[in-house]
Symmetry: none
Subunit: 192 residues, 4 copies
Amino acid sequence: MNRRSSKDSRQNIIDAAQRVFLLHGYEGSTMRMIAEQAGISVGGIYLYFKNKEELCLLLIDERLKEFSEKIDAALKKIEDPIDALREYILLSIEYAKKHNEFIITQSREKGFTFGIDIKREFFKRQKEVIKGIIFKGINKGIFVNCNIEEATRVIMGVIRGFVLSLVVDPDNLFDARQCSELILSGLLSRSN
Amino acid sequence: MNRRSSKDSRQNIIDAAQRVFLLHGYEGSTMRMIAEQAGISVGGIYLYFKNKEELCLLLIDERLKEFSEKIDAALKKIEDPIDALREYILLSIEYAKKHNEFIITQSREKGFTFGIDIKREFFKRQKEVIKGIIFKGINKGIFVNCNIEEATRVIMGVIRGFVLSLVVDPDNLFDARQCSELILSGLLSRSN
Amino acid sequence: MNRRSSKDSRQNIIDAAQRVFLLHGYEGSTMRMIAEQAGISVGGIYLYFKNKEELCLLLIDERLKEFSEKIDAALKKIEDPIDALREYILLSIEYAKKHNEFIITQSREKGFTFGIDIKREFFKRQKEVIKGIIFKGINKGIFVNCNIEEATRVIMGVIRGFVLSLVVDPDNLFDARQCSELILSGLLSRSN
Amino acid sequence: MNRRSSKDSRQNIIDAAQRVFLLHGYEGSTMRMIAEQAGISVGGIYLYFKNKEELCLLLIDERLKEFSEKIDAALKKIEDPIDALREYILLSIEYAKKHNEFIITQSREKGFTFGIDIKREFFKRQKEVIKGIIFKGINKGIFVNCNIEEATRVIMGVIRGFVLSLVVDPDNLFDARQCSELILSGLLSRSN
DNA sequence: AATGAATGAGATTTCATTCAT
DNA sequence: GATGAATGAAATCTCATTCAT
């Protein structure tokens, strides 16, 4: 048996939980499945997490934070709004592909209210990021002078659609890069 | 005892099940919830449906068929591809709003395989419908000469994104009509 | 629909019940099965029988009485104890083959007590019949002067074993006639 | 909470299940009865057995194997076919008395097919054992030169009848030893 | 007399959580 | 820290019985 540090054990469980939740959803996953996936005992999970709900919430929280940080780090280096928006979209999709579709699609578990605050906060934050990019683009005369609020909603909607397609209809995906170019083409001022 | 005809009871249960599944997902919904929602006893459900899985599958089947028929009926009367595509998008969203979001979002139930055939068939059918519209539009010179397959995927993706937003982030929806105009604007040939 | 007289309906249900009980046992049979087998509605059964238990009890009673009468009628015409015993054994097996294995084998249902009085009465009665035959045979010097009580038990045991084999291991039955000759050979006095 | 080793618990449940099945049959026994008899919670049973059916099947399997081994061990030490056959019959009845009647009598459960393979295999094996004894007895000139197949069927039938009587009509049993002597007397060559 | 929709009690089964070891 | 046997509550499902029609 591999002895692990407390921190390693915790992370190990979170990672295992994610793999299981992704595959079976919250209600469809059992603590036993997670324990098996993590290679520990059922009781062991409860040494690190109060219960199943908390485990899931912490997992969601961790992923959303990780994603936010990744986005922030990437955008810090980019000046051009076009590049920034493209990067945002590509990163979103890439991250979703890697491990996060489940966060978006599981929102129905526990009657919509499950993790609702965390998610609301996250969406609000992302909205601000996108709005910032568009605002800058319009100011610079690169993007058409559109309704920023509305454009942001469209962009988040398209990304969501792409991510959902990953789950629901993976045989009919359009390319992530095309997805970003499509959105950009709608925003670019005619003079570009 | 509230006596109903067999057919009424059946439909009553399906409708109740839909409301419940929509709210809690498949695993998160219980037969007791459905029974309460339908105003009958739990055992009563089993007079009409073999088990929970069959109930859900029949429900999905019914909705998808109903939607397909609605789409077919609406498009039969429309000649102009622009109008047809707009109608398709608006109907999709309207129908989803009314009762169908859950179908799209529940795909993780039972390890992704739940109702997979029914859904695949449905998506295939809808893809053909959209492709038909675009093909006609291009032939008539109304739409730009784009990659039909790819354009179809984008359209389905955007609709999906809109529908998912209904569930996940209903405070930040963009307007259904705007959604359709956005898509159309991308397809219209510059000469329009 | 075939209208039936009340008496026909009753008998029709009993016969259906027997076929179903025989196949699935008491607990394994449902009123719905019986109704289907009888070609009537579930509720219809309750017009003729108070409940499942009474139906089964009446059925057992009817069969055991029918069998007793058949035996009595057959034996009345027979003078020779050898013939009588042979006939008794052959009739028992024939009757069991036709429809009655279930009566013997279902005694474990409802914790042994199910129909216990009826059966006890029946066994007592049959024991008397067999004892009568043997007594007569001994008196006439045809049978060896054995312990009548004991011989009767053996005979009933062998018949039971044969009947049980019908159910449990039908590929390895010995012939009914051989069964009777076996028993007789044990009883016949050496001088025969 | 009564803590036991995993192995103890398993055996404890099997033993409890046997007592309950014997009394009420398969369909008539409930998991709650078994749990109560075993002194654990209902859910606890499912830690060791997938479901009721598997529990029953494993139980049958265990008993039949145990019996087979007991027979094999006993017969290994016995040279004389008379002693061997007597021992076989006495052991069969003794074992049945102790805990096994239910195996023979429950064959109607689940429409006759329940555990059919296990039982068929068992009967086949026992048939071979008996045939072996008789063959040896005939070869040695101790038994009459009878039809071995047929004699075996008779023997198995008589044992079955005795066992069934244990269940159905325990007030009218003939003695186990008498049962074996009866069978032997039929087989012994007149010169003995 | 007859139906079959509906019920309610109880069966089997699952699983998050606890706790003796 | 770690285990995994055990529990108890709740889920799915079954079915004898009732009762409006």
